[in-house]
């Protein structure tokens, strides 16, 4: 037991005290933060306002367009959009929206372009203005706005600014629509009453009857499936590398003359497993802190409300299934490591387990879509797959306890069989130098008493 603990400690320190561990541990939260915040920051950075010359011979669209791009109107629109996901908006949020809207409107400077000639002459003159830089874009409003085939011509030097283009398109649509409505003698209020969308409130219901957000579940399930998959793959390779190193450098001979091969192998699995748990703990902790921080930012309550409630029981299950997955794949990789002579050779053999993991990861999508289907049932019970798919299913919809228990029993049995098999191959394979073991050879080692 003392020697076993020495091995555990040694393997744990070997993983955790390496630069790659620190980098790997920091990488995931950093990437998460980068992917969350950088696009937000980039889109909030606005360039120079776009100067648009509007050629509107009818004179009916420009005033409405200007009105639609006014800050008041933008706030109204933003409020309406947010109303779907928010029940109440407090003053500070309204303030923020106004500022944001002001930012959007500031990026357009509309000017009227009037010319007495034909449209073609006007266009040529506008293009000239763009070329000499006095304006950035022009909008030619067709003469007959009521004609649904009439095309609005918008040409800009900044064709790729899709955020601005979208804002402009929305404002223009509204302007044209209200103009057409006015021509048809329908008031805008009347129209919005008539065209109000049906309010589909789509949410999941958990086993206690509490509501939960469908979208949040999907994202969280995907994240947990992906994280389990990545962690298992990384730590599997870690085990493979550690086993091959001891074989390649012949340290195995010294180790085997000091402790039982089984102690050495299990010590390695447990030590690296604890290192994996440490990393996972750091990540979960980071996410928890990040969510807590976001919860304090009142304008992020939108996001918070869609984070599914994760109970301590769920966390316990996640932990169990992570460990099941770790021991399954770690023993497979240890088995491979003791058969091959170099890490590169091991990489070729690592293909089958990686494929199984990947398949399990793809099954996650089926599980997310319908957690209670037959496919989901088998995918979350099957050995090798369950450690990746079951956490996803638990998050999507808590399965009956007997199914979780069955899954655990099946996978523990698989681990017992794999550890037994690996131990048999390990004790012989680790002392075989020079060439890769063939399958018949390995079979012989397994049958040796």
């Amino acid at each position: 037991m003392k020697k076993f603990l020495a091995v555990v400690k040694h393997e744990y320190k070997k993983v955790v005290l390496k630069w790659s561990f620190l980098i790997g541990t920091l990488m995931l939260p950093t990437l998460a933060i980068v992917f969350t915040f950088v696009p937000m920051i980039i889109f909030s950075l606005r360039g120079e306002p776009t100067r648009i010359a509007v050629y509107d011979p009818s004179g009916k669209i420009l005033p409405r367009l200007e009105k639609n791009l006014s800050p008041d109107r933008m706030v109204e629109k933003a409020k309406k959009a947010a109303a779907d996901s928010l029940t109440n908006i407090d003053a500070s949020q309204e303030e923020k929206m106004r500022n944001q809207a002001a930012q959007f409107t500031q990026s357009f400077v509309l000017s009227e372009f009037s010319a007495s000639g034909t449209v073609e002459e006007a266009r040529a003159s506008l293009i000239g203005s763009i070329m000499n830089g006095t304006i950035d874009a022009y909008l030619i409003v067709p003469a007959n706005v009521a004609d649904t085939n009439a095309a609005f011509e918008f040409r800009s030097r900044k064709g790729g600014d899709f955020v601005s283009n979208d804002t402009l398109r929305d404002a223009l649509n509204d302007a044209v629509r209200s103009q057409r409505l006015a021509e048809a003698n329908i008031s805008e209020d009347r129209l919005s009453e008539l065209s109000a969308p049906a309010n589909l409130d789509a949410k999941g219901i958990d086993e206690t009857g509490e509501e939960k957000s469908a979208e949040g579940i999907m994202i969280a399930s995907f994240v947990i499936g992906l994280m389990t998959y990545i962690t298992l793959a990384i730590y599997g390779q870690q085990i493979l590398g550690a086993v091959v190193e001891e074989k390649e450098t012949r340290i195995a001979e010294i180790l085997f003359s000091s402790a039982r091969p089984f102690e050495l192998m299990m010590g390695k699995l447990v030590g690296v497993g604890l290192a994996g748990l440490t990393q996972l703990g750091i990540w979960v902790g980071t996410v928890a802190i990040l969510l807590g921080f976001l919860a304090l930012q009142s304008d992020m309550s939108m996001i918070m409300s869609s984070v599914p409630a994760i109970t301590p029981l769920m966390v316990l299950y996640f932990l169990i299934f992570f460990l099941l997955g770790f021991f399954i794949y770690a023993s497979i990789f240890a088995l491979i490591g003791s058969m091959v002579t170099t890490v590169q050779e091991g990489g070729q053999f690592a293909f089958p387990p990686i494929m199984i993991m990947l398949a399990a990861f793809y099954f996650c999508f089926a599980v997310i879509r319908d957690p209670n289907s037959t496919v989901s049932f088998w995918a979350t019970i099957a050995p090798f797959m369950a450690p990746i798919t079951m956490p996803v299913r638990i998050l999507a919809e808590m399965p009956p306890l007997w199914q979780i228990a069955l899954s655990i029993v099946v996978n523990v049995a698989a681990i017992a069989a794999l550890v037994w098999l690996t131990a048999r191959v390990y004790r012989v394979g680790m002392l075989m130098y020079g060439k890769r073991a063939t399958i018949p050879e390995v079979w012989k080692w397994i049958r040796q008493p």
């Binding site: 003392k2 020697k3 020495a6 091995v7 040694h10 070997k14 190193e245 001891e246 390649e248 450098t249 012949r250 340290i251 001979e253 010294i254 180790l255 085997f256 003359s257 000091s258 402790a259 039982r260 002392l431 130098y433 012989k444």
Partner: protein, 319 residues
């Protein structure tokens, strides 16, 4: 360490056989190793040395026969009393010297504080004190060798098994290591020494066993083994003696060294008769000395079975 006499048996190998499938690596091997002696375990590659050592160390178990260490059958429990330096050596590449040594000591059941003390002592002893925090990759091959040796003695083993301990060391360090080993002997510890280098074995070993093709060929104290080979060996230096040397009825076999020749006389030939024949044939004799066979000679004879013909290549090359 209990009080022991030189004659006390520390390791007893009795009728041990080990097979791998159809291949018999060790067959019916028996020998005793006495405490406080250096025991030479000799044989060519593939003779079964490593297999035997692995059984002594408890890495594998014999199919037949038994091995006992200090009266106890070999098991995981006896591993802590053995220090084993395998022929194929290795250290963790990217780990600090002190960390590896601590790990190896811990695996042998040495307490942390004890290990710290021993590591400092041995690193100083080996002149590697300043390399304590260095990584393996920063060390020369000789230094790695010494670190490896330290790892085998940290737990103060009663039996030391060294497989080619001097490979990779320069002559100065070989002398140094021999000094260290002789200290073990004075502490009544047993050393099993496996090597191809017969000259080293001859210098260090009290007892030897020579195995070839899975079986014991010859064994006993160095003296006994040598004496059993008789005294029909002559170290000769001179010229114009070719006719006598080529005479197969007098000289059975010739081994040429750089500046002299070793003449193995044919059975029953008197050494004086050979000397007389040389002088009569007009040879210019500068050296004519009756010597005892070297371990090298015994090794060649037993391993290659080259009882006739002329062997000129040094034996180490063939191995």
């Amino acid at each position: 360490m209990p009080d022991t006499f030189n004659s006390d048996i520390s390791l007893k190998v009795s009728n041990v056989t080990k097979r791998f499938g159809d291949f018999t690596a060790v067959e019916d091997l028996s020998f005793d190793v006495r405490a406080g002696r250096v025991f030479g375990f000799l044989g060519p590659n593939g003779a079964g040395k490593t297999t035997t050592i692995r059984m002594i160390v408890g890495i594998t178990a014999p199919d037949e026969g038994s091995i006992s260490l200090f009266g106890e059958p070999v098991s995981y429990a006896t591993q802590n009393r053995i220090g084993y330096l395998p022929e194929e050596r290795g250290l963790y590449k990217k780990m600090k010297v002190v960390d590896q040594l601590k790990y190896f000591a811990e695996l042998k059941g040495v307490s942390r504080s004890e290990a710290d003390k021993k590591i400092d002592f041995w690193l100083d002893r080996m002149g590697l004190g300043e390399w304590k925090k260095a990584k393996t990759t920063d060390l020369s091959k000789g230094m790695q060798q010494k670190i490896q040796f330290i790892s085998t003695v940290l737990h103060d083993p009663d039996l030391l098994i060294l497989d080619e301990p001097f490979s990779g060391l320069d002559p100065v360090n070989v002398e140094f290591m021999i000094d260290v080993l002789s200290e073990f002997r004075t502490q009544q510890k047993t050393v099993i020494f496996s090597t191809h280098l017969m000259s080293t074995a001859e210098r260090l070993c009290h007892d030897i066993i020579l195995i070839n093709k899975s079986r014991k060929v010859v064994g006993g104290s160095l003296r006994e083994v040598k004496e059993s080979y008789g005294t029909n060996l002559i170290a000769f230096r001179g010229s114009n003696a070719d006719s006598v040397i080529a005479n197969r009825s007098l000289v059975d076999r010739v081994v040429s060294h750089a500046d002299e020749q070793e003449l193995h006389l044919a059975a029953g030939v008197d050494t004086q008769a050979v000397l007389r024949a040389m002088i009569e044939s007009g040879a210019n004799v500068m050296k004519f000395e009756i010597t005892e066979p070297s371990l090298n000679d015994i090794f060649i004879e037993k391993v290659t079975g080259a009882a006739n013909g002329t062997l000129t290549a040094p034996v180490e090359k063939n191995l």
